[in-house]
Amino acid sequence: MPTYNLYMGCSVPANYPNYEAAMLRVAKAFDMELEYMEDVACCGSPNLRAFDYFGWLVVNARTIAIGEKNGNDIVTPCNGCFGSLKDVLYHLKHDDEMRKEVNDELKEEGLELKGTIKVRHFVEALYTDIGIDAIRAKVTNPLDGAEIAIHYGCHLLRPEDVTEFNPEVLKELIRVTGAKVTEYPLWKQCCGATVLPVNEPLAIRLARDKLNSIKTAGAEFITVVCPACGNQLDLQQLGMKESYGEEYDLPVLLYPQILGLAMGMSEDEVGLNMNRVPAQGILEHLVE
C-alpha cells in the first residue's frame, strides 16, 4: 500500500473541494495512502517566481524538505503546485550554490533539502503505481465512449525536462474509463489562467481559442487536472455566456470525478453539483 505526502496547496481546497474529495475517494479505493502534509506553505505559483525567485525557492524547498522527513514522495493534484515544487527541485538539484543558500534559510527550522524524494502529480502516481490493469478492474460503470477532450495544463507538460510527464498517461487514464479521447489541435495550448492578473481580456481570448478548438473537434466534455485551468475553462464559460452571449456547453470535469463515476461512485461523492457548467450530462453516458 503506497503512502504519499499529499500536498494540497491552497487553490484546490478553496475552489475545488469536489476535486479533493473525488481524488481522496479514488485513492482510497486503490489503497493509496494520501497523508495530508502538515505545516506546509502555499507554493506561491509562478507569480511568486516572477518577482521573488529566492522567496519562491525557499518556500517550496521548505515543503519538499518537510516531505523528505518521512521519505514519501509528494503528490499534488494542482499543476501550479506541481510546477512550482518540481521546478524548485530541478533548479536546486542543478545549482549547488543556490541549494546551500536556500538550506541556510531552512536551517533555523531544522530542515534541509537533500533531493531524496520525488514530486509527483496525482494522476501520474495513480497511473504508475496502481497501473491501468488494476484501475480497469475497478471500473464497474464504464462510460459509453463519450468524447472527452484532455486539457493537460502547461505546468504539467512543460518544460518536459522538469515535469517529466508523458501525455499518454492521461490519455490512457481517460480510455480506461470507457471514454474516448478527443484529439484537438490546440491540446498543448495554455488556458490563459496565468495572464489573468495582468491582462484579463487576453486571458479570456485564450480560453475562447481553447474552447473553440475543443468544440470544433467534437468533444462533449473536457477533463482537467488543475484548479487554475478548471477556472479558466469552466468558470469562464459562464462569464463568456453572460458578457458575450457565447455558449460552449462543455462541462469541465476534474479527472478523478470521471474515474470515480466509472468506479460506481455517486454524483454527490464526486461533488458533481459544484462544477460550474452543469456536468450531470455525463451520468447519461455511464453504462449500468
Binding site: A14, P17, A21, N47, L48, F51, F54, R62, H155, D268
Partner: protein, 180 residues
C-alpha cells in the same frame, strides 16, 4: 488645396537609429548569470519562440526580439516592457527552442530583475504578493459548507501561513509589498 502660410515643420529624421554606445552590455551578462540564463547567448534569432508563443501576435516586442534586446543591452526597454509580465509561462517557446535557450526561464529572470531594480511591477501581481505576505496563501476558503458537504476538513488542510509570511517578509516580496 490653397497654400498656407504656416511655417514648415522641423525636418523629420527618417532613420532614427538606436545608438549602440548608449545601451548597456552588462544587461546581457546579468541575465546570462541568472538561473537558467546561461544559454541566452546561444540564440540565433530563428524566431521559433515567437512562432510557438500563443500570444506573441498581441505583443509589440515578440519573444525573439526580447531576447535580441537583451543581447544588445536594451535593459530599460526590456525591464519596463509589459510583455515580460504578460508571458503566460506556458514554456512553449522554451520547449521548442532549437538552441536550448530557456526562453521562459529568462523572462522569469527579467521579471525578477525588473522587480529588483525598481521597474514597475503590475499592480495585480503585487496584490498577489501582498496576499502571500499577509495571509500566507493565494486562495482562502470562503465556502466551507461545500467542503463539509464532501466530508472534508473545513479549512485548507495542513497549510501553515505563519512560516511563509515569515520567509517572504525577509525576501524581495517583503521589500516590494511590505508587511501588514
Amino acid at each position: 488645396m490653397a497654400e498656407t502660410d504656416e511655417k514648415a515643420s522641423p525636418p523629420v529624421t527618417l532613420v532614427d537609429p538606436i545608438d549602440m554606445s548608449k545601451l548597456d552590455p552588462s544587461f546581457r551578462d546579468d541575465v546570462k548569470s541568472m538561473p537558467n540564463g546561461e544559454e541566452l547567448t546561444a540564440c540565433f534569432a530563428c524566431s521559433t519562440c515567437t512562432a510557438a508563443c500563443p500570444i506573441a501576435n498581441q505583443w509589440d516586442f515578440k519573444p525573439h526580439q526580447l531576447i535580441r534586446m537583451i543581447l544588445l543591452g536594451m535593459r530599460e526597454e526590456v525591464l519596463s516592457s509589459r510583455e515580460i509580465w504578460e508571458c503566460l509561462t506556458c514554456f512553449e517557446c522554451q520547449e521548442r527552442c532549437p538552441q536550448n535557450v530557456r526562453v521562459t526561464d529568462i523572462f522569469f529572470d527579467c521579471k525578477n530583475l525588473a522587480a529588483e531594480e525598481g521597474y514597475e511591477v503590475p499592480e495585480n501581481v503585487l496584490v498577489l504578493g501582498k496576499e502571500l505576505v499577509d495571509k500566507g496563501q493565494l486562495y482562502v476558503v470562503t465556502a466551507d459548507w461545500e467542503r463539509e458537504d464532501l466530508d472534508l476538513e473545513p479549512e485548507v488542510p495542513g497549510l501553515s501561513v505563519e512560516e511563509v509570511e515569515k520567509i517572504l517578509k525577509k525576501t524581495r516580496t517583503g521589500r516590494l509589498v511590505g508587511g501588514e
